[in-house]
Symmetry: C2
Subunit: 278 residues, 2 copies
């Protein structure tokens, strides 16, 4: 599969890595980036993450075979609405947002005839969210969840699947709500736990933080604005996930309070077997 | 500083790394390991973590200038009691346990005349707790907390400090209870959070676990028996630490439930600044 022109709106860690991978694997003749800030454009051009950069959304997406929105979750529907108006007949719009139900519902509500939308969530990234950390290999072995609804065009879904497979990713397809539920547990909940672990600390104790603390809280260094968007968009499942975690923390607390050390050991063993299986 | 004979009781990741470091830096003429299992003795000898290995505690500690107990927290007082009887006049007993109040109280209660005890906690390690992962450099830059009580011999404290400094560690000295409180927050709480995060998961969702989940839960792969001992010995502060974490998780939950996104963003920002400062 090969595109004549692919456009990436938002060239950060994910968008930049898509650009680098498209160029490296010669999947697109031309990769265009749409930017808001000159500093990001300069960085992206220096990294050769895109062939051309523009601040003009219309010019950026016109004639593109595929437009990938890789901005923060909260701004994806707005960019989608504006971009879709200028996209050509038969082109595909997709995104990389970490939450899907809200985004997919909104975009399917205003998508013009002739443009197909497929929601996507590549489960890669990290706490360093800049094109400076982008790499062509970021998606190798990465799980990418694609969404399918009653409105999803099967041909577009196939093309977006092939696109991610050719970047080395593993594909799963599910409805947006199932996606949001699953990632609330494996991604959004660990994030909230890391944040709470930091908030709970006393300042003068942190000098004794070792690798255990570092690993457990690494993701709390991520961009707060980005995560606000994610948690807000996945509010319902975030709350449910928190409730589950609090139940399990209380279970450990109970075992300690009642000196139920057999139960505590059983929990430690169960957690180890779950973690070892990942 | 140089010892004629140092004895390590329990040659795992920590004990083995002490042995390797003592040999590499030529701090002890003879390093003896006391073992319970032949398989560990074989592994330790193959790694050259000790010069000699024995299953006989009396023979192992006789004539030693310093005896380091590096077994699981729950077994340290028992080994200390048995070892101290055979230790020579003027020798030093120390340990590497992750909890201090219970251990120090117990050992100071039965320590014979002529043997000094200094509690120590090198904050190194990881989820791979075997001599197979031991390394001479494990303590470079590591925080080592030494305990000081009204019974602590100042000369012995000075010697144990020098010992750890010569292994590349950074030293802090505090009373055992302060130690237990501080490490409950930066070490034991992250562990319990990682365990609860694993317990909360649904089996069919774990296929989507990415780096965030992996980092946050890595320490849940640690030895359950070792951690049961730690949490049991530091029961009071573990419960208090859990309560603090649950308060902060509830704060995030409240912000989400009430759509208090300004408060949520403030928490995300505060957590990032705390984590970035580590």
């Amino acid at each position: 599969m090969r595109f004549r022109k692919d456009t990436i709106i938002g060239v950060g860690l994910i968008g930049g890595s898509i650009g680098l991978a498209l160029k490296k694997r010669r999947l697109a003749k031309e990769v265009v980036g749409v930017f808001r800030r000159r500093s990001t454009l300069t960085k992206a051009m220096r990294r050769r993450a895109v062939d051309h950069g523009t601040f003009d959304l219309e010019r950026g997406v016109s004639g593109a075979d595929m437009v990938i929105i890789a901005t923060n979750v909260g701004t994806i529907p707005g960019f989608a609405r504006r971009a879709a108006r200028f996209m050509k007949e038969g082109s595909i719009l997709t995104d990389v947002g970490s939450v899907k139900e809200d985004i997919v519902n909104k975009i399917e509500g205003f998508l013009p005839e002739g443009v197909s939308f497929v929601g996507a969530h590549p489960m890669a990234g990290g706490e360093k969210a800049s094109v400076a950390f982008a790499s062509a290999g970021l998606f190798k072995g990465t799980n990418v969840i694609l969404t399918s609804t009653k409105d999803t065009d099967k041909g577009a879904l196939r093309k977006v699947s092939k696109f991610w497979l050719s970047l080395g990713a593993r594909i799963s397809i599910m409805d947006p709500r199932t996606h949001d539920k699953k990632v609330s547990m494996v991604s959004h909940l660990p994030h909230m736990a890391a944040v709470a672990l930091c908030l709970a600390q006393e300042k003068d104790g942190l000098v004794y933080a070792a690798n255990g603390f570092r690993d457990t809280t690494r993701i709390a260094s991520s961009d707060p604005a980005m995560w606000l968007d994610i948690l807000r968009d996945n509010r319902e499942f975030s709350i449910r996930a928190l409730d589950k975690l609090i139940v399990d923390l209380n279970d450990i607390r109970m075992a300690l309070a009642r000196k139920g050390f057999r139960r505590l050991l059983a929990n430690l063993k169960k957690a180890k077997s779950i973690r070892d299986g990942v």
